[in-house]
C-alpha cells in the first residue's frame, strides 16, 4: 500500500461562516499560546508547557470533521486540540495556571487537560500513552454502533514508541473507527526526526498494519480538513482506521525552557513564511470572504477577550486544599 496524498475536496463545501469560524479558532489558539508564554515570562505560570503556535491548522482542520459525540485524545502539546474542540478558554486558562475553576480542578495542569463533556478524553504526557486509550474508545464506538469516531493526536517522535505500534495493529485487526493524526513538526524534544527515524514520511508505517497512510500539508487548514475528513468518513462507514501525517512546524521550542537553537534559521524562516493563519487569511481575503480590516477586527476582539481571561485567571483564587485529597477513588 502506498501513501495517499490526494483527498476529496470537501472543504469546498464549507460555507463562509464556517471558514470564518475556523479562522477565529486558529487565531484564538495562537493568542492563547502567546498569552501563556507571557504568563511564564511574568512568572505567573509554573511548571512546564508545550505550545503549538504554528500547528493550529491541524487542530482546527481536524476538529471540524468531528461530531459532538466523537472521542479525542491528545498529548501534553494539546492546548490547540482542546480549544478547537470547544474547551472553555477561561477554565482552560485557570487549569494551566493551577487555579480554582480549572477544567481539572488544578489537578491536571497544562499537560493533562481533559473535558469529558466534549469527548476530550485527556492529554497524555507519557509519549504514546494516548494511542491505546483512543483505540479503546474506538472499540467502544464500534460496540455501540452509533457511528462515533475516535481521533488521537501525537507527534512524530511518538511514532518510535511501542504503544504506537500496538495501537495501530489493534485498530487494524479489529477494524476500529480510529483516526491516528500524527503532527509531524520535524522534531522530538530537540532531536530532529532524521536522527531517530529512517523514513521521511511516517505515513508509510500504516502499511505495516495494512492501513491507509495519508500525508497532508499540516499548515493548510483546508487540506487538513479534506484529508482527515476522508479518514473520518472511512471510520464512520466501518472501513477502519487511518494514519494521517500532517507536516507542520512549531514556531517556538519544545517547552518553555527550550530556545530551539538546534534549528537552522533558514528552516524556521521557511516555515514562518508558511504560517497557517496567514495562509488562511490570504485565502479568505482572496476569495472575498473576509477583508483585511475584518480580520484585524477579529484579532483585536479575540485579543481583548484573551487578555481579560488571562487577567481574571491571574487574579483567581487557588483551589481549596481539600480537592487535592478527592477523586483518588470513587
Amino acid at each position: 500500500m502506498t501513501i495517499q496524498r490526494e483527498f476529496s475536496n470537501r472543504s469546498k463545501q464549507l460555507c463562509d461562516d464556517a471558514l470564518i469560524e475556523m479562522y477565529r479558532s486558529m487565531v484564538t489558539i495562537r493568542q492563547f499560546e502567546d498569552e501563556i508564554q507571557r504568563c511564564f515570562l511574568k512568572g505567573m505560570m509554573q511548571g512546564t508547557t508545550h505550545l503549538c503556535q504554528g500547528q493550529e491548522a491541524v487542530s482546527v482542520g481536524a476538529m471540524k470533521t468531528l461530531r459532538d459525540d466523537d472521542y479525542i485524545t491528545c498529548t501534553y502539546r494539546g492546548h490547540g486540540q482542546c480549544l478547537a474542540r470547544g474547551m472553555p478558554i477561561d477554565r482552560t486558562f485557570l487549569e494551566i495556571l493551577g487555579r480554582k475553576g480549572g477544567v481539572c480542578q488544578g489537578k491536571g495542569g497544562s499537560m493533562h487537560l481533559t473535558d469529558f463533556s466534549r469527548g476530550l478524553l485527556g492529554s497524555f504526557a507519557i509519549v504514546g500513552a494516548g494511542l491505546p486509550v483512543a483505540v479503546g474508545a474506538g472499540l467502544s464506538a464500534q460496540l455501540r454502533g452509533d457511528g462515533q469516531v475516535s481521533m488521537t493526536f501525537f507527534g512524530d517522535g511518538s511514532t518510535n514508541i511501542g504503544a504506537f505500534h500496538e495501537a495501530l495493529n489493534l485498530a487494524a485487526v479489529w477494524q476500529l473507527p480510529v483516526v491516528f493524526v500524527c503532527e509531524n513538526n520535524l522534531y522530538g524534544e530537540y532531536s530532529p526526526l532524521r536522527a531517530t527515524t529512517t523514513v521521511d514520511d511516517l505515513a508509510v508505517r500504516a502499511a505495516a498494519y495494512d492501513l491507509p497512510g495519508y500525508v497532508v500539508d499540516g499548515n493548510d487548514v483546508l487540506a487538513v480538513y479534506d484529508a482527515i475528513g476522508d479518514a473520518v468518513d472511512r471510520a464512520r462507514r466501518g472501513l477502519g482506521a487511518t494514519l494521517v501525517e500532517c507536516k507542520t512546524y512549531r514556531h517556538s521550542g519544545h517547552s518553555r525552557t527550550d530556545p530551539a537553537t538546534y534549528r537552522e534559521q533558514a528552516e524556521v524562516d521557511a516555515w514562518l513564511a508558511r504560517d497557517p493563519i496567514a495562509r488562511l487569511r490570504s485565502e479568505l481575503v482572496e476569495r472575498e470572504i473576509l477583508t483585511i480590516a475584518q480580520s484585524e477586527a477579529i484579532g483585536s476582539e479575540l485579543l481583548a477577550n484573551m487578555q481579560e481571561v488571562s487577567h481574571a485567571a491571574g487574579e483567581a483564587p487557588w483551589p481549596d486544599e481539600k480537592v487535592m485529597r478527592e477523586d483518588v477513588l470513587v
Binding site: Y71, K107, F116, L121, G136, S140, L143, V328
Partner: protein, 335 residues
C-alpha cells in the same frame, strides 16, 4: 462448572469460580467486555474463561494480539466511555510490559481529570510459583504496583474469594487489579453464589480464629498457613489466621484488632522480603498496636533472589506448611 449444593451454595474449583463470576456479571451487565490473549477461542491458558465466548459472542469476549500495553490501554479507553472491561494478563509477570498504562494512566486517570469520570476496569493477572515456570513466570507481583494510589489491588486465596472478589471488582467503579494465583486454580471450595457471595473489596478477612498469635497471609500462603495451624494444633498452639486479601487500599484494622488479642504477628507472603507488603503491615501494626506487641512482627517471605527453575530449588524457596509451623512454634516458645 460448579456443583450446586443448595439454592445458593456451590462447590467448585478456583478456576471455575472465576469463570462463574465473570459469566454472571456479563449476564447482568451487557457493558462488561473481556479481553486478553487467547481468552476467547481457547478459554485462556488456564481455562478460566472457557465457554464465555460461546455464550456472550466474539464482540464481548475478545482475543487480542500480544500487545499488553495496547490492550490494557484500550481497556482504559473502554472504561471511560461507557464499558466495563475485564482485561486478562496471562501471567502477572507481564505487568512489566504494561506498567505505564496501569501506574501512570489508569491509576491516576480519575484524579488528574479532577474527578470527571470513574474508571470501572478490572485487570486480572495470574501469578504465583510452584509450577516450575522459572523466574519470569512465577512472580505474584503483589507489590510491584503497591505504591500507586488510585488502584485497588486484591488477592483471592480461595474459590470463594475468587468468585466474590471478581464479581465485586467488575461492579467497582475503580480500577481493580486482581492478582490470582495459578497454583490455586485446581483447588476446590464451597461458597454462596449470587449476591450473597460478593466480597467487599475493603479489608482483610479472618479465616481461622485463634488466640496465640496473628498470622496474615495472602494467596497460596493462606492455605499453607492453615496447614501449619493444623500441625501446631497438636502442640496446643492456636494461631489466628487472617487473609490479607486487599492490598490497596490497605486497611489493617482487622489485623490490629486481632493483634491486640494475640500480641504477636507473623506475615507470610510469596514475594521477596525487601519491598514486600509484610513490611507495610508490620509497620502499621507496630504503629497502631506497639504496646500490645510482645515481640516484633515476624515476616516470612521468599529469600531475596529470583525464582530458580529447578524443582527442588523452587520448593526450597517457597515457605512450606512445615516451615511456617516451625516458625510458629519458635515464636510461641520464644516469647
Amino acid at each position: 462448572m460448579g456443583v450446586c449444593m443448595t439454592a445458593t451454595l456451590v462447590e467448585t474449583s478456583y478456576r471455575e469460580a472465576i469463570g462463574m463470576a465473570l459469566a454472571e456479571e456479563m449476564r447482568r451487565d451487557s457493558t462488561v467486555i473481556l479481553m486478553g490473549e487467547d481468552v476467547a477461542d481457547a478459554g485462556g491458558v488456564f481455562k478460566a474463561t472457557l465457554g464465555l465466548k460461546d455464550e456472550f459472542g466474539a464482540a464481548r469476549v475478545r482475543d487480542t494480539p500480544i500487545s499488553e500495553m495496547g490492550f490494557v490501554g484500550a481497556g482504559l479507553g473502554l472504561a471511560i466511555t461507557g464499558y466495563r472491561p475485564v482485561v486478562e494478563l496471562m501471567f502477572a509477570d507481564f505487568i512489566g510490559v504494561c506498567y505505564d498504562q496501569i501506574a501512570n494512566q489508569i491509576a491516576k486517570y480519575r484524579y488528574m481529570s479532577g474527578g470527571q469520570t470513574a474508571v470501572p476496569m478490572v485487570i486480572r493477572a495470574v501469578g504465583g510459583a510452584g509450577l516450575r515456570f522459572g523466574a519470569q513466570h512465577s512472580q505474584t507481583c503483589e507489590t510491584w504496583l503497591l505504591a500507586n494510589p488510585g488502584l485497588k489491588i486484591v488477592c483471592p486465596s480461595s474459590p470463594k474469594e475468587a468468585y466474590g472478589m471478581i464479581k465485586a471488582a467488575v461492579r467497582d467503579d475503580n480500577p481493580v487489579l486482581v492478582l490470582e494465583h495459578k497454583g490455586l486454580y485446581g483447588n476446590r471450595g464451597e461458597f454462596e453464589c449470587g449476591e450473597e457471595g460478593l466480597v467487599d473489596l475493603k479489608n482483610p478477612a479472618l479465616v481461622r480464629p485463634g488466640k496465640d498469635m496473628t498470622i496474615v497471609a495472602s494467596l497460596a500462603m493462606v492455605g499453607r498457613c492453615l496447614k501449619a495451624c493444623d500441625i501446631v494444633a497438636e502442640k496446643g498452639i492456636e494461631p489466628e489466621v487472617i487473609d490479607m486479601r486487599v492490598l490497596r487500599p490497605m486497611d489493617v484494622s482487622p489485623i490490629v484488632a486481632s493483634v491486640r488479642r494475640t500480641n504477636r504477628l507473623i506475615t507470610v507472603e510469596e514475594g521477596p522480603r525487601v519491598g514486600g507488603w509484610g513490611a507495610e503491615v508490620a509497620a502499621q501494626i507496630t504503629d497502631e498496636a506497639f504496646d500490645d506487641l510482645d515481640s516484633p512482627p515476624l515476616r516470612i517471605t521468599l529469600p531475596d533472589h529470583p525464582m530458580p527453575f529447578s524443582a527442588p530449588l523452587e520448593d526450597a524457596v517457597l515457605p512450606s506448611a512445615e516451615g511456617i509451623a516451625e516458625t510458629i512454634v519458635a515464636l510461641h516458645e520464644g516469647g
